[in-house]
């Protein structure tokens, strides 16, 4: 065999086969009908040494370009302290399984308990699960939770200001789960309140899904929404950008029943889309309707405080087709990532991150406006670190121009609108350099027109 992953010597294999009463490794497959055995070659390269693997990925890496990121839309370039990556590399965390054997899994169980505690502090809700795959699937799970809670209703309302990436996932789950998704239109960058009032008054919705901040970066005012939902026996589900929860009015303060979202903005690397971590928090009275793992405190035989997976009677391995969800794992290691991040940052660090992002975003919006070719698409609406800006220039061309100078200048929404994001990672010098690049493009266009 002779490979670093296979320890057996020829002698080991011989003696082990003897113990099994078999003559060859092939004999161990004598129960497989021979016409089903694969006898050809896999279309794979030959084995690579570590030297060759490093060289291979170094070369592949040259086909990527590291851009100075001014894009958000569900993935944000935030700072993470060096400690975080170091802790999550510890193999006692990294190489362990789901903590079923609580006596030797207190490390995992305790950090999940801390994660749940921190997420409930951020959202203001009473309980949290152990984490979900990502923010989009967490929102879909909340949608199914609302429908299960309502029993006889199978309609959910969703605002058009929710990130379309999230809405797409919710609609896919809904289609197969037999849930009707009805949209509430956006008006001037926020959910159309009149349309919401009209649709909720029909009394047939199990839940309403809104976003804070919304897809356009706007912080919407949800005063009175929860009451209207509850008067009509619907749950209010709020999809949030986790890091903004450090300063923005929390889902609990808005009266939401379920708070969901992606935890990526809590310092998790962008990493081309994953792994991230979803969160789902709710009230204590809905805890038994919640999907996913939950860790609770208890005691051991000696009376010592310990932590354990609890309320498992909701889950697939006990309830099978009657479970609250099919989710089996959580995104445990990424929950640890967030837990260590929040331990280090605390409320003050999170506040500073949001202050700096706010400052940078508002400065960039102002500088772009000063060029005379840009104006805020929704000028009267409050935003934190992300905004939509309208331009009379060709959006595709200006993005290509700035990419050539290694900037990701926002994301194109349509021919005239760009969704731009600034986090604490962007220095004033970087923002100025982006604006300079945009100005050079404007000069170039003007020269061509002359």
């Amino acid at each position: 065999m002779n490979h670093k992953f296979f320890p057996h010597t020829d002698e080991d294999i011989r003696s082990m086969l003897d113990k099994c009463g078999e003559r060859s490794l092939d004999d161990l497959y004598k129960d497989v009908p021979s016409e089903l055995v694969f006898k050809r070659e896999y279309e794979l390269p030959e084995a690579m040494s570590e030297v060759e693997i490093r060289r291979y990925f170094d070369e592949l890496g040259t086909y990527n370009t590291q851009l100075t990121c001014f894009a958000g839309a569900g993935c944000y370039d935030h700072y993470a302290p060096a400690v975080v990556a170091d802790i999550i590399r510890r193999s006692e965390f990294l190489t362990s399984y789901t903590p079923y054997q609580a006596e030797i899994s207190q490390g995992t169980l305790q950090y999940i308990f801390e994660f749940q505690s921190m997420m409930t502090e951020l959202t203001g809700m009473e309980v949290s699960n152990a984490s979900m795959y990502d923010g989009a699937t967490a929102t879909a799970e909340a949608m199914m939770m609302a429908v299960a809670n309502a029993k006889k209703r199978n309609k959910v309302l969703i605002s058009d200001t929710v990130n379309p990436i999230v809405t797409r996932v919710v609609e896919t789950y809904a289609k197969f789960h037999g849930v009707e998704v009805e949209h509430i239109a956006a008006k001037d960058g926020v959910t159309d309140r009149a349309e919401f009032e009209r649709k909720i008054a029909q009394g047939d919705a199990a839940g309403v899904i809104v976003a804070s901040p919304n897809f356009f970066g706007i912080v919407e005012d949800y005063t009175g929404w929860a009451n209207l939902c509850h008067d009509n026996k619907a749950l209010l589900i709020m999809n949030c950008v986790a890091s903004t929860l450090g300063v923005l009015r929390s889902p609990a303060e808005w009266g939401a029943d379920i708070a969901v979202g992606d935890g990526q903005s809590l310092g998790i690397p962008m990493n081309f889309g994953g792994p991230y971590v979803g969160f789902l928090c709710t009230s204590k009275k809905l805890i038994r309707k919640m999907p996913g793992r939950i860790v609770g405190a208890t005691t051991d035989l000696d009376g010592k405080r310990t932590f354990v997976l609890t309320l498992q009677a909701r889950e697939q391995h006990i309830r099978r087709e009657k479970a609250t969800s099919n989710i089996c794992s959580n995104q445990s290691l990424m929950a640890l990532y967030v837990t260590v991040y929040l331990s280090l940052m605390g409320k003050q660090g999170l506040r500073e991150v949001n202050e700096m992002s706010y400052s940078g975003a508002h400065y960039l919006a102002e500088k772009l406006t000063e060029t005379g070719h840009f104006h805020l698409t929704y000028p009267d609406k409050p935003f934190l670190n992300e905004f939509v800006i309208n331009t009379d220039l060709d959006v595709q061309q200006i993005q290509e121009w700035t990419v050539d100078e290694d900037f990701q200048f926002g994301l194109r929404l349509d021919d005239h609108n760009i969704l731009v994001c600034v986090t604490e990672m962007r220095s004033k010098a970087e923002i100025d350099a982006l604006v300079e690049s945009v100005k050079q493009y404007i000069e170039f266009i003007n020269d061509q027109q002359d």
Partner: protein
Amino acid sequence: MNNVFYGKLIFELSREGRRGYSLPKNELASYSMTDMPNALLREQDPGLPEVDELTVVRHYTNMSNNNFGVDTGYYPLGSCTMKYNPKINEEIAVHRAFTGLHPLQDIDTVQGALEVYYKLQQSLATLAGMKEFTLNPYAGAHGELTGLMVMRSYHASRGDDKRTKVIVPDSAHGTNPASAAVCGLDVVVVKSRPDGTVDVDDLRPLLDDTIAGMMMTNPNTLGIFEHSIAEIAKLVHDCGGLMYYDGANLNPMLGKVRPGDIGFDIMHINLHKTFSTPHGGGGPGSGPVGVREGLEQFLPSPRVIRIDGDDDCYEYNIDFGKDSLGSISGFLGNFGVMMRAYTYILTLGRDQVKNVGPLATLNANYIKESLKDVYELPIEGVCKHEFVFDGLKDKSTGVTTLDVAKRLLDYGYHAPTIYFPLLFHEALMIEPTENESKETLDGFIDVMRKIAQEAKDDPEMVKSAPHTTPVRRLDDTKAALHPIVTYRELAAEQ
């Protein structure tokens, strides 16, 4: 600090005014959040801990010492394929040319990342005998759900909307019926024969034009190869259904059998099992879904595709197909996990990958044969990567499977999977993986025999195990009857 019995929570180490981070000075502080309407801001700060850096490092390091990973010791956890997680995988997964990429950044600037995604799709396709894969699903259960969505999309595309049921064996993983329910399908259970395989006679009468398909894992959860698979697949196909392969038990198939060659139409793979990516205490995993030719148009969006140009030139792009079932993930799945799995495949290469299945199977059979005189082996014969004992052979001592599992912890081993599958009362499911040496297996066998002896000599001691672990048996009932799930609740209680 006594790190073995360390049990503080980070909140209990908090002192007002401490900090664990450093940020640059805000150069643009004149643009201030105080300009935001007050009604949109939090009334109360979140109760997050305030802790200095070293305290955080010691806290989590101490907690890690209360954990047990594959790097700590032997982990014969059945159905979970606790392989060694190679260090080169970890090194490549944090390669700086990949970790800083925004998932929506300009397509020309992420060609390297898309190539990894595309080549891993292709590698899985050749290993599994499928036409195409998507890597978007985040976990095995998520893959099952996605695969069932493909199944329903296929029937819907043919206007065949009577097919609302899916057949699941009684020995199946719990996620199978749960995924079916989330996907809006009704579950029909098919019984097992005494040898643990699907009872074909029980299956026949279940088949009609309301069946969307059947979910199976092969080898099944008892580690037995479903020898009637060709007949089962034919029966299901003849009634118009599709065959779904639950890839949880793919490991023994590597090098020997491809699901696509034995009648399966749709499948998922757990990269965190068969392809060596770490379990991370419960995630992140990855559950790629593969399909045979004719079903690829239904795979979820976005999809990574290759566009071939002239002179061997090609580029990668992202596609949202019109027949796609929709999106099941925010972006393109757990990319960091894919980097690890692809590294593992490259490390083995086309020849060594063929040894994975046979060596895993050898290890399982060796343990089974070495222990079957003291543990009850309900099904004789050759197993694949795992097998199930029905507790101790000598039942007179009152020592249960749970007790054996807990006693193993005292000896520095992780316990096997217990009380699954549900076909036996005292199921003890052992899966060794191909990475373990004969010395490790012999050490485990010795301890298992010793525990069997202890059960006779001192049953009370075994029943009260573990004795040497950081904490002792926990009160599960108390946790469930009176759930305390946050520090705030716990503090109020104390």
